[in-house]
């Protein structure tokens, strides 16, 4: 009896010691990170969509010193994110580097048939999910999403978005497919700002700009008809914008505002990065920005993040195959 007990206590003590070592070891190691400036790779040029987010986050660190080292934004534009991703792959094991990602993180390797996928990178943090409302001009004849759909079934409506075969076009092609409309005439623009400008100027009939891009023109110039996500936008002035699902249109799509690191970094470096973004995700300025632009703040990390992205990949493969973009 005593033999069993002592064995139990031995196991227990071992577990406790291990746990204590684990916890403190982790803390001690995490405190070792960062030992030098952290490079923040941005897959857009200075002033591009992802660039604005990244620099905003860098500013938060300057203000509140979440880490003592500086974060240096490095622009690696080109190839719809391919150049930046390739760069991260060459920096295998560099724990002082991170990449701000969009959905192109999933779609670019698929579409361009690149020799890598998102699985090759180390997951860090998913900061938020960004929205895709459908915008029309203020005095547009489309009063509701149903108006828009019924017209789209009669003729090819002229729409615009950022880039080609990227997020915005994917949304419009999905509307086409699910709503059984005529193919949209899709005009690719260089960035979200240019798209919003084209919509306000009347050069296109609709866009799927994010609230952060088209919001400044609402309600003076544009208005949202519907938002393609599960929940309504939690932003003042957008309470009455229905979700697509409410209207019986089964399509929901978001932009991942996430952070990934190069392959093969150490656990403690990964933990340090995660801790940094956990802090940022609670920053009042960040939360205020999110509230104003209808971002849904999230805090998904590690394996959960990988699973999340995997689901996104599945979703994209379905849409892209239906379009014949993938074989």
């Amino acid at each position: 009896m005593s033999g069993i007990r002592s064995r139990y206590s031995f196991v227990l003590i071992t577990i406790m010691v291990c746990a204590v070592l684990f916890v403190f070891g982790e803390v001690a190691e995490a405190a070792d990170w960062p030992t030098r400036p952290v490079e923040f790779v941005i897959s857009a040029g200075a002033g591009g969509g992802a660039d604005k987010y990244a620099r905003f986050l860098v500013g938060l660190n300057v203000k509140n010193k979440y880490i003592d080292e500086v974060i240096i934004p490095v622009n690696k534009p080109g190839g719809a994110g391919a150049v930046a991703m390739q760069y991260l792959l060459t920096q295998k094991g560099n724990g002082h580097m991170m990449l701000i990602t969009l959905n192109s993180f999933v779609t670019t390797p698929l579409f361009q048939k690149l020799p890598f996928t998102f699985r090759d990178f180390t997951p860090v943090f998913l900061l938020a999910l960004d929205n895709f409302p459908l915008w029309v001009q203020k005095d547009s004849k489309f009063k509701t999403f149903e108006d828009f759909l019924s017209e789209a079934r009669k003729r090819s409506i002229l729409v615009g978005g950022t880039g080609s075969k990227q997020e915005d076009e994917i949304v419009f092609r999905a509307i086409e497919k699910i709503g059984k409309t005529k193919p949209f005439k899709y005009v690719p623009f260089k960035g979200g700002g240019a798209v919003a400008k084209a919509l306000v100027g009347g050069h296109i009939e609709a866009s799927v700009n994010q609230v952060s891009e088209a919001g400044p023109f609402y309600p003076e110039f544009v208005r949202p008809l519907v938002v393609f996500q599960d929940e309504r936008l939690d932003v003042k002035g957008y309470e009455d914008t229905p979700t697509a699902k409410e209207l019986g249109f089964d399509f929901s799509y978001n932009m991942m505002r996430g952070i990934f690191a190069p392959p093969g970094i150490s656990k403690s470096e990964q933990a340090g990065l995660v801790a940094l973004f956990k802090d940022i995700s609670k920053d009042p300025d960040w939360l205020a920005f999110a509230a104003k632009t209808g971002l849904q703040p999230t805090s998904i990390t590690g394996d959960d993040l990988m699973k999340f992205v995997e689901n996104y990949e599945k979703k994209h493969i379905t849409i892209m195959k239906a379009q014949g973009w993938l074989k």
Binding site: F56, G193, F289
Partner: protein, 507 residues
């Protein structure tokens, strides 16, 4: 009256000691950033954006804007002295500025560039004060077809630019356009002309290419000349205050041209997604087209400095207008400033004027102050800058070459760009030797990708018909003018032939 009161509030902000201090620091940083090739105003603003969280937003934006003005002024320095564009929008300054420097008129060229920069900024600032909102709304009327027509206008003004005849110009232009094709196709999103490499996927950026073509190319030509002719002493850049007076006088003499270029530049600047670079080329091209003696251009004509520089700076300032009044950035730099606005918790857009008058009018007032302060700093610095040309060639050149390579790397942090500079340096040398004009190549490279995007967007909107360019009034006007300019050399050729026939006939 209300505008005046607002402007006074703005000056109140801009004249605060902290604002003045940050503005001066910003201007000096901007000048430095502008001088370094590759490290442009956009990068400068982006790098220092986080610093601004430490000061109030209205001071922060004045600081960032000052960096931007500094870079607008500073970019011309290396263009004129070494044929290395410090900024994309100062490529056009090489065409006449560098020949002037070679003739020992570096100081005059610099002074003229600074004074015309000042005119450009001031013209833009006046519009900012008076017509910000209506102009921003007008600019929105310019869709892809209108923008394509403007690009055509820019190309058309460059017909017959440089030496070497029509065929060589055509080859040079086509090669430039071909280079812009590598990378991702703007409409289908598929990689094209990449030969399966990751390097080509990023495409050819015109900064490394122009640094190579002009900067390295010129150095090689220069070195060869020195070796063969054994120039003991090049013509020394004259030092002194006469140059500054000369610069002011030149601007005064060509004030009409400078003012027109500034006006044109401002309107191009507020259009969507163009920025200062096309404006500077347009300024140069138009000045040359309407000159009574266009053959002077490219050999050190002072008008070839005044026009593009006034246009570029007016455009650079104009690009901020849609950002402030509507929340849509007119240029990459403006976009970075926009990120700053978010960071400060401001919501850019039509309501910013009403909700944050101190912020907006502080910025506008700082336009006047920064523009003036920068002019003074630059003019004082001109003799010092010109004296760089007195450094022995053997000492100066290695430094320039190193700066060239660093500049091409920092633009996009790509080693590929460094190789580009090297290869295009060799190409620039060969092209110069074979008398191929480099300017058309540079213009095509800078405007090519933009032009293609506008063309293809227009064709999607117009169901594939070129009619769209002629059925919309604004684009129709520009297109007709552009087509006329394209045809002009042909007319001239026929006219000359007729003339020579007439002359032959009596004999």
């Amino acid at each position: 009256m209300e505008t005046l009161a607002n402007l006074l509030v703005g000056f109140g902000v801009a004249f605060q000691p902290l604002s003045l201090f940050m503005m001066t620091v910003g201007l000096l940083l901007g000048l430095a950033v502008g001088v370094l090739p590759g490290l442009g105003g956009t990068a400068g603003v982006a790098l220092l954006l986080p610093v601004t969280v430490l000061v109030p937003p209205e001071v922060g934006i004045i600081f960032l804007a000052a960096i931007y003005w500094g870079a607008l002024y500073g970019g011309v320095i290396t263009s004129i002295l070494f044929a290395i564009p410090g900024e994309p929008w100062s490529v056009a300054l090489i065409f006449d500025g560098y020949p002037m420097a070679k003739q020992g008129k570096a100081g005059l060229a610099l002074a003229a560039a600074f004074v015309s920069s000042f005119v450009g900024i001031m013209v833009a600032a006046v519009f900012f004060v008076t017509l910000a909102m209506p102009l921003a709304l007008f600019a929105l009327k310019f869709g892809p077809p209108e923008m394509f027509a403007i690009m055509m206008l820019a190309f058309s003004t460059f017909v017959g630019l440089g030496t070497g005849g029509a065929l060589k110009t055509l080859i040079s232009t086509s090669f430039g356009l071909l280079l812009t094709m590598a990378g991702l196709d703007v409409v289908t999103g598929s990689p094209r002309l990449t030969f399966g490499t990751m390097a080509f996927l990023s495409g050819f950026h015109f900064v490394p290419v122009t640094i190579g073509l002009f900067g390295l190319g010129e150095i090689m030509i220069d070195g060869e000349e020195r070796l063969s002719i054994e120039i003991k002493e090049v013509i020394h850049a004259k030092l002194g205050w006469e140059d500054i007076k000369g610069g002011i006088m030149a601007t005064k003499e060509h004030f009409g041209l400078t003012l027109l270029s500034a006006l044109m530049g401002f309107f191009v600047g507020i259009l969507p997604g163009t920025g200062a670079t096309p404006a500077s080329f347009l300024g140069y091209g138009i000045a040359k087209q309407y000159s009574k003696n266009p053959e002077k251009y490219g050999k050190g004509a002072i008008e070839g400095i005044l026009a593009p520089q006034a246009a570029a700076n007016a455009a650079g300032t104009g690009a901020l207008l849609p950002m402030i009044s509507l929340g849509i950035p007119g240029s990459p730099t403006a976009a970075v400033l926009l990120a700053g606005l978010y960071m400060w918790g401001l919501w850019p857009g039509p309501r910013l004027f009403l909700e944050e008058p101190v912020f907006v009018w502080g910025l506008i007032a700082s336009l006047f102050l920064s523009g003036t302060a920068c002019l003074i700093i630059c003019l004082i610095g001109t003799p010092v800058l010109a004296s760089i040309m007195r450094i022995p060639w053997g000492l100066l050149t290695p430094v320039i070459v190193i700066a060239c390579f660093i500049g091409s790397y920092v633009m996009r942090n790509l080693m590929f760009d460094v190789w580009c500079t090297l290869v295009f340096g060799g190409l620039g040398y060969v092209m110069k030797k074979l008398k191929y004009p480099l300017a058309p190549l540079a213009v095509a490279l800078v405007l090519g990708a933009m032009t293609e995007r506008f063309l293809r967007q227009s064709l999607i909107i117009g169901d594939g018909s070129f009619g769209i360019f002629f059925t919309r009034p604004i684009s129709a006007i520009f297109m007709v003018v552009a087509l006329f300019l394209f045809a002009l050399p042909a007319f001239k050729l026929i006219k000359d032939k007729m003339k020579s026939k007439d002359e032959e006939a009596p004999a």
